[in-house]
């Protein structure tokens, strides 16, 4: 196919000089600069109107609303608020401020978002509509149980799907995101070991290729971490793992499919060895999209695995969350899962097991890990997604996700070094390295070059086991035409990097900003707009 059907090339405006022409505003047509809220708002402007407080309060209300001291008969105990210096905007100004800012973002809605291990797939809009139904959005977490049977029903139905899709015994729905799910699983393991009286098991084994959250979680839960090496073909070194197992090992944290984009063929053998040595197996489920509907982690001997609903089940990433990280558990770990949880009673009603009834209903629990019931707004979206796809659709999801990734791997392995291409098919993400680029050129240059081509770059410099790693995860919601255009763009950028095209070193040229000075940002952090007296002008 033709990569750029119009024939227009980005060099054109620069070549005729017009691209350098400054504008009065600093804008470039639809590329709009937007000042900070603190530079355009003021403390006396607002985008909301309120009714006047009820006269029941009594007499003596002063003019204006500047100080709470003017409230009649207030019950604030003399602790009135001083100046806050929060600027406001009218509604039209607010809408424009955020709309203009939004246009400086790349998003799935604009094109391929191939961040490896992040599963940036299309977010169906039905899910958004469902999450906003008043019966879900306008319900308080502490309402009486009789008034929340539908909400508990959603949690229960989603729990059943997750259990069956993974072939596990139970599921903890409370965790707020993937790393919180890891914590949940590790706390289950620790509670199980404590229950066995094996408090000397305080080491978790983590492969070098693991997400940074794995060792951070282990440390957060009071464990020490030891790395296990990878084989030359990018998988866990089973012999090295076995040799390290012993009475001080609590378990392993393994990502499968792993962050090199490969399925851990020895997963069952790893699980068996760890179990035989008295430990437990935690699986990082960040890459579940590769196998959903086709492979059940429960069949591989896993004891706990978090599922990122914001990855596999398409709840929106929202520029950094919210996520949701339910953890499926084996029969050995399920007794230790967190509070609260939903239980279905014989009469079809649901009940909530909280601290007050835990002693009889869930005595082994490690406790509560968040204030309420987990990410309900993500549960409604994920259940909607799952029901839309069904068991057949989910199987097609993983099939297409893996097909798309292998297509990218094989279309680009002649131009980019693919260190594990000989290991066999990849799963849902294709891994490349910076080997073979011209001297002085690196992965960052390729990433920034892709930005000029209108794409979000892939995950870069991760996993750490590959030099200058580029991890490409297309997901199943890309069309072949979209993939071909992405492949053409990445090929073009890679060829420029191999040829030593200097213009790539200063890319991006066409984004709202050029490369940003991250060193300066960290050396003298400016993390908030300081209040200046003239801001109110």
């Amino acid at each position: 196919m033709t990569i750029n059907q119009s024939g227009w090339r980005p060099e054109a405006p620069l070549a005729n000089g017009a691209g350098d022409q400054p504008t009065f505003t600093g804008n470039r047509a639809l590329m709009l600069e937007e000042p900070l809220l603190f530079e355009i708002g003021s403390t006396d402007r607002t985008g909301v109107d309120f009714e006047t407080p009820s006269p029941l309060v009594g007499e003596g209300r002063g003019e204006g609303t500047r100080g709470a001291a003017e409230l009649p008969k207030n019950r604030l105990g003399g602790l009135e608020r001083g100046a806050i210096n929060l600027p406001g905007l009218s509604e039209p100004e607010t809408v424009r401020h955020y709309t203009r800012l939004s246009r400086q973002n790349y998003a799935i809605d604009l094109g391929v978002f191939p961040l490896g291990s992040c599963t940036m797939k299309h977010n169906p809009r039905l899910n958004e509509r469902v999450a906003r139904m008043p019966g879900f959005a306008d319900v308080h977490p502490l309402q009486p149980i009789s008034t929340i049977q539908g909400a508990l029903g959603v949690i229960h139905q989603l729990a059943i799907w997750l259990i069956k899709l993974t072939g596990m015994y139970g599921v903890a729905m409370a965790p707020k995101a993937g790393a919180h799910g890891e914590l949940c699983g590790i706390l289950c393991i620790r509670a199980a070991l404590d229950a066995r009286g094996e408090t000397n098991r305080r080491v978790l084994l983590v492969p070098e290729s693991a997400h940074g959250t794995n060792p951070a979680t282990a440390a957060f839960a009071g464990y020490s971490v030891e790395n296990i090496p990878a084989t030359a073909e990018g998988r866990v070194d089973l012999a090295a793992l076995k040799s390290r197992l012993g009475p001080d090992i609590a378990g392993v944290m393994i990502t499968n499919p792993n962050t090199c984009g490969l399925f851990e063929r020895d997963m069952k053998a790893i699980s068996d060895a760890v179990h035989a040595a008295g430990g437990y197996v935690y699986c990082d489920g960040a890459n579940f999209n590769a196998i959903v509907g086709r492979v059940r982690p429960g069949d591989l001997g896993i004891d706990a695995m978090h599922i990122n609903l914001h990855k596999t089940f398409s709840t929106p990433h929202g520029g950094g969350g919210p996520g949701s990280g339910p953890v499926v558990l084996s029969e050995a770990l399920a007794p230790y899962g967190p509070l609260p949880f939903v239980a279905k009673m014989p009469d079809g009603h649901y009940k909530l097991v909280e601290e007050s009834s835990a002693a009889q209903d869930h005595p082994g629990t490690f406790g509560r890990m968040t204030a309420f019931h987990g990410q309900m707004g993500m549960f409604t979206r994920a259940l909607t997604y799952i029901l839309s796809h069904g068991a057949d659709g989910l199987r097609q999801v993983s099939g297409d996700a893996v097909l798309n990734a292998n297509y990218i791997l094989r279309q680009l392995e002649d131009v980019l070094d693919a260190p594990f291409a000989a290991s066999g098919p990849c799963m849902h993400e294709a891994l490349f390295s910076d080997d073979g680029l011209a001297p002085g050129f690196n992965t960052l240059d390729i990433a920034k070059g892709l930005i000029d081509e209108g794409f979000h770059p892939m995950t870069v410099y991760f996993p750490l086991v590959v030099h200058g790693a580029m991890l490409v995860e297309p997901t199943e919601t890309e069309s072949k035409a979209g993939l071909d255009q992405f492949i053409g763009a990445l090929r073009s950028v890679a060829e420029r990097a191999k040829a030593g095209d200097e213009s790539l070193k200063s890319a991006p040229h066409f984004a709202p900003r050029r490369r940003l000075d991250e060193t300066a940002a960290a050396r003298t952090p400016i993390l908030a707009q300081r209040y200046l007296a003239d801001e109110d002008d």
Binding site: R45, V57, T94, F113, T213, F220, G390, A391
Partner: protein
Amino acid sequence: MRYLPLSDDDRRAMLDAIGVASVDDLFVDVPAAARLSGPVPDLPMHMSEMAVERHMGALARRNVAAGDAAFFIGAGAYRHHVPSSVDHLIQRGEFLTAYTPYQPEIAQGTLQVLFEFQTQVARLFGCDVANASMYDGSTACWEAIGMARRITRRTKAILSAGLHPHYVSVCQTMAKFTGDTLDTALPTLEKGKPGDDMARLLSSIDDQTSCVVVQNPNIMGHIADLSELAEACHAKGALLIVVVTEPVSLGAVKSPGEMGADIVVGEGQSIGVGLQFGGPYLGLFATRDKYVRQMPGRLCGQTVDADGKRGFVLTLSTREQHIRREKATSNICTNSGLCALAFSIHMTLLGEKGLRELAALNHAKAVAAAELLSKIPGVELMNDTFFNEFTLKLSRRSRSLVRDLADKNVLAGVALGRLYKDGDGRENGLIVAVTETTTEEHVETLASALREALA
């Protein structure tokens, strides 16, 4: 399948290009015994958009929406009116379907929002800096205790009896595994200042104390001056952590920063996010400049690009898990970005003028409701001070009363019996929240239901 663009012809062409016969051949590394030959058994097949909407709608209708009842529930999550433009703006695909801003050149929208959000939170809390959000108030509370441990190198935290009991539970869960010692107490229904334990806190601080954690207004709505407590903490080298579960209160009540808090954490759900049955919510986290390198979570900072233009990046990431791994200040990765956006937009719409008006309206309505309800025989108002939430002591157990009133479409509040074991009269306590969404008619409805139930 409406969400999958590949046609069978596409799949065929791609398999040919890869050089395999079928998609199954791409799964050869999965042991055959673990490979399913068809869809996962015992689960339904795909459904149309209309059918799914019908199914989910039926579940939604099995809940009582707060807007369809006389509604007085708070205790850590509050029902406020969210202007319609907030939800429209957060549904712009460029915000909704973006990732964490790892490539700042094409994520300036999210980054500038985070910078503005951090500034708004810092100013609201009376602090120097805030981070880009945590999961929720309870997890932010635990992260604050961990941060105090790192700063003071001490492991004893004193938790106020007025701290939300679910927050206490979360901290207890984590402390079991980290070795921190938590000094906790159950709240009492003390007339005038329910849940207050200032004397206990002041007398418990010693030179082993890493921090004192106190909620203001507390779980029962009581507001306290924390200045003396802050001084007492600092005199012993401990930090004062203040928890705010109702940020709207800070439009009327003196900020924790002004009272001397070192770390202020909170639940931001009140502003922009909505009830959502408990999540996703928004953890707020702010502190002093000097502690910024011990903070958990993402931080957005200002810088310049290669042309000298102002821009924003994620910064100080050497604190974070993707760089520091097991030595990180927290394991948090994904946070509550979209909720932070909603909070920030709502706060922009309010501005200081709107926030003060909103807070004044909440307080005025709560004062009026408290006066009315406290005249009912069998109802005693326990609070001298409160913002938009107060605690009543009833002449009967409140948990069954709440259940009875729910059958009459009155969601009367949170019974202390739902949150605590019985004792010290707690079983008769009822926490009642009143916001700008509460009408006089709602208050009358609650009043007559209480009159009837307590007669």
